[in-house]
């Protein structure tokens, strides 16, 4: 005993704390990560490809996924790591998953550890307090933006969107919280409504009854609350689906604006199987083009580069539908960025990061914009409201940082280098004529 005390005393003198391992924590980590925390062999490729490494200053402590997983394997709190853990920095972009030699679904590990962080005191200080506020907003208001549920349909006040009727509609359009409330994203939804109408699609929405899909709860690792949301929403969707589809009959598309909502319905709503067919709108519009129901006749001379939303691309394997749609528009020239499809860089808005602040010099969107600028395209297209928000921000920061150019111009500021547009907006431009060239975010449908 005296020897142990002596060693402990020496360690203390060197400011080194002995680590005491706790097996019960490992059991919890294993359960929360579906066993995947065990599969990590600590090669560090994940840390190497993580976009955080590209935005953090070389002097700052490295953002290391590998260290975090190692700490979890040992059942250590993340304060044991000199640089802390990237648990809440992770945008769940899955770029590391493409490289992992053991095929570890790192996102599942991260979400599992987040789930633990809500419950376990040895991790709990890791939960950013503002996330509880977002969850309360989902609970009381039915959306993660804390906006009144009674204003969910204000964006479409002048569009006369009918309530979904299974007898007369061939698709259920799930608008989603961001497209319903965010001023910029509303333009995407409005453009999509116009495109669907131009294609002659009879569709309806759930109006004010439309619930939150639960993407925020999912990305915060709140699996218990997500299960509640999924159960309640599944009941609602099944009620609204009308008569059960006959075996073999084509299912009604459940069409989403955001790939995040699509991902939720596709991956996390087992009770919707055989009731609706979740589909991202780019997939649906590409189908309409290929079925000859949607066609673009007028030329839209536009050089476009496409940013793959992580959740649509790496998350659900859909890289081609938005590209097929863009290429169906005469005059649109698609120029790829060097990092495209499975290699695409994240916008920085996934994994709950939409609700957490990121300093302007650490935003992935800034890097992504620089990659897009290299292509020479005038439009940076994407197909996700979060990506549009992050990339629009990047354009604004970039415009503000640009040096003086022509004489008489106000220090060269305020001139956007590229225009960020959602694919739905480009499709509507092709059908209706160019959008007014003012600020990003003005659709031909007008501002509500």
């Amino acid at each position: 005993m005296a020897a142990v005390e002596e060693i402990a005393g020496t360690l203390q003198a060197q400011e080194v704390q002995p680590i005491v391992l706790d097996d019960s924590r490992w059991e919890k980590v294993l359960a929360a990560t579906g066993g995947w925390a065990a599969a990590c062999l600590q090669c560090g490729l994940c840390s190497g490809v993580c976009p955080w490494g590209r935005v953090r200053s070389p002097d700052a402590p490295p953002v290391s996924v590998r260290h975090m997983v190692r700490a979890a394997q040992l059942g250590l709190g993340f304060d044991a790591l000199p640089a802390g853990a990237p648990l809440w920095l992770c945008t769940t972009c899955r770029l590391c998953e493409v490289r992992c030699p053991r095929g570890v679904p790192v996102t599942e590990v991260v979400l599992g550890l987040r789930e633990l962080a809500w419950q376990e005191p040895w991790l709990s200080e890791q939960v950013p307090p503002e996330l509880a506020g977002v969850l309360w907003d989902v609970y009381w208001d039915g959306n993660p933006w804390g906006r009144p549920p009674s204003q969910r349909t204000v964006w479409a006040r002048d569009l006369d969107l009918p309530s979904y009727d299974p007898a007369s509609h061939e698709a259920l359009y799930y608008v989603g919280c961001t497209a319903a409330y965010d001023r910029r994203a509303q333009q995407i939804a409005r453009a999509l409504v116009h495109v669907l109408r131009a294609a002659g699609i009879a569709f309806g929405t759930l109006g004010e009854a439309e619930p939150c899909c639960g993407d925020a709860a999912h990305s915060f690792g709140q699996r218990g609350y997500l299960a509640e949301l999924v159960a309640a929403n599944t009941r609602l969707f099944r009620e609204r689906a009308g008569v059960p589809a006959e075996a073999g009959a084509a299912l009604t598309p459940l069409l989403t604006t955001s790939p995040h909502c699509y991902d939720m319905f596709e991956q996390h709503y087992p009770g919707l199987r055989g009731v609706f067919r979740p589909v991202h709108y780019t997939q649906y519009l590409a189908e309409l083009v290929e079925a000859g129901r949607l066609s673009f006749s007028a030329r839209l001379p536009l050089q476009v580069t496409f940013h793959d939303p992580c959740v649509l691309g790496r998350g659900n394997g859909e890289f081609e539908a938005p590209r097929r749609l863009l290429q169906a528009i005469p005059g649109v020239e698609l120029v790829e960025m060097a990092a495209n499809r499975a290699e695409a860089l994240c916008c920085g808005g996934g994994g709950g990061r939409m609700w957490l602040e990121t300093p302007a010099n650490e935003r992935f969107g800034q890097l992504r914009l620089a990659q897009a600028q290299v292509t020479g395209a005038s439009v940076l297209a994407t197909a996700c409201p979060y990506c549009v928000a992050c990339l629009d921000d990047a354009v604004k920061v970039d415009a503000g940082n640009r040096p003086a150019s022509a004489a008489g111009e106000d220090r060269g500021q305020g001139r956007a280098s590229m225009r960020v547009l959602d694919v739905a907006e480009i499709a509507w431009m092709a059908l209706s004529g160019p959008l007014p060239d003012t600020a990003p975010g003005i659709s031909p449908g007008g501002t509500p």
Binding site: Q17, P18, I19, V20, G77, W118, Q119, P121, W122, P129, E130, L131, A132, G133, L135, W136, Y139, W140, P148, P149, S150, Q151, Q222, R223, G224, Y225, A227, E228, G400, E409, D410, R411, Q413, G414, R415, T438, A439
Partner: protein, 307 residues
């Protein structure tokens, strides 16, 4: 109760390890269900708020009070009881509080309580606090939100303290327990309350029991624990009527109210002008400055001192 106060073996900071000896605390938290402000309409005939069409939530300020109670219990041990006065439709909201971490819930519900102003409400709640105290071996602290979003008087917490005859501190920002040499009633401890005031803050020391209102913004209310939801959904909520509380019938409901609403009006909505200024940031700033100067010139936006 003897508690081990030695440091934990591997240095993990255990909540309240150094303070547990002066716990536990039995905290009663008053919560109320309110209509969502943006959905409320005013009934001009009855001079009341028309709640029928509005969605309901826990009064946001009360969630801060509950968070403070739960944090104090995490630190000192003890028990958190929820107390509300209202119709049975409040029960689901009490269950949300139980899922956040409260231990039990009480609802004071009787038609005779209807139409109460802040005087009658605080009297009725005081009777509820007293009975909770009698049945559970006493209460140490009553926490309220700073005000309700529908009434916005902030009168109930101090009224409650007066009816109970205990000290009060309003708009508390931070609360802790400390040892006190005197005051047998306080069990050798007292409250330390920090509250923001104009130009600074003050620290108050209060004997227990006491009534506090918690400043909105003092904390971030934790989200409920999904694992507690099934228990909370089935938990017994104690409902007491006027007879169970042995209230003085002249002090509750409309009879017990010292104020009457003489008139209410629905405020009109200001219509936005929808003027959009476009240009470079410098152009926009110049245009905006011109607009502001124009308004100031008309004397419409002269600065006013808050009355």
């Amino acid at each position: 109760m003897q508690r081990d106060q030695s440091p934990t073996p591997h240095g993990t900071r255990m909540p309240g390890a150094g303070h547990a000896a002066i716990g536990p605390l039995h905290i009663v938290v008053c919560i109320k269900a309110v209509p969502k402000p943006e959905e409320v309409r005013v009934n001009l005939e009855t001079r009341t708020l028309d709640r029928g069409s509005a969605r309901t939530e826990i009064n946001p300020a009360d969630q801060h009070a509950l968070e403070m109670a739960l944090a104090l219990r995490d630190r000192y041990g003890g028990r958190v009881s929820l107390l509300s006065m209202g119709p049975p439709l409040f029960i689901p909201y009490l269950r949300v509080g139980l899922a956040m971490g409260a231990d039990d819930a009480y609802l004071l519900s009787d038609r005779a309580f209807g139409g109460a102003d802040t005087l009658a409400t605080s009297y009725t709640l005081a009777k509820g606090v007293e009975r909770i105290g009698r049945e559970t071996g006493g209460y140490d602290l009553v926490l309220c939100g700073e005000e309700s979003s529908d009434g916005a008087t902030a009168q109930v917490p101090p009224g409650l303290a007066e009816w109970l005859g205990v000290p009060q501190a309003m708009y508390a920002g931070a609360v802790s327990l400390e040892a006190a040499r005197s005051g047998a009633a306080s069990n050798g401890r007292r409250l330390r309350v920090r509250r923001e005031i104009k130009g600074g803050h003050e620290v108050l020391r209060l004997p227990l029991p006491a009534v506090l209102s918690v400043a909105t913004g003092a904390n971030v209310p934790r989200f409920f624990d999904p694992a507690r939801r099934p228990w909370a959904a089935a938990a017994h909520v104690v409902v007491w009527d006027a007879a169970a509380l042995a209230v003085d019938p002249t002090l509750v409901g409309t009879f017990g109210s010292a104020t009457q609403v003489a008139a209410v009006e629905q405020a009109g909505r200001a219509e936005r002008r929808r003027v959009v200024i476009r240009g470079t940031p410098a152009e926009e700033a110049r245009a905006l400055a011109t607009v502001i100067r124009g308004v100031l010139g008309n004397g419409q936006a002269a600065p006013r001192s808050p009355s």
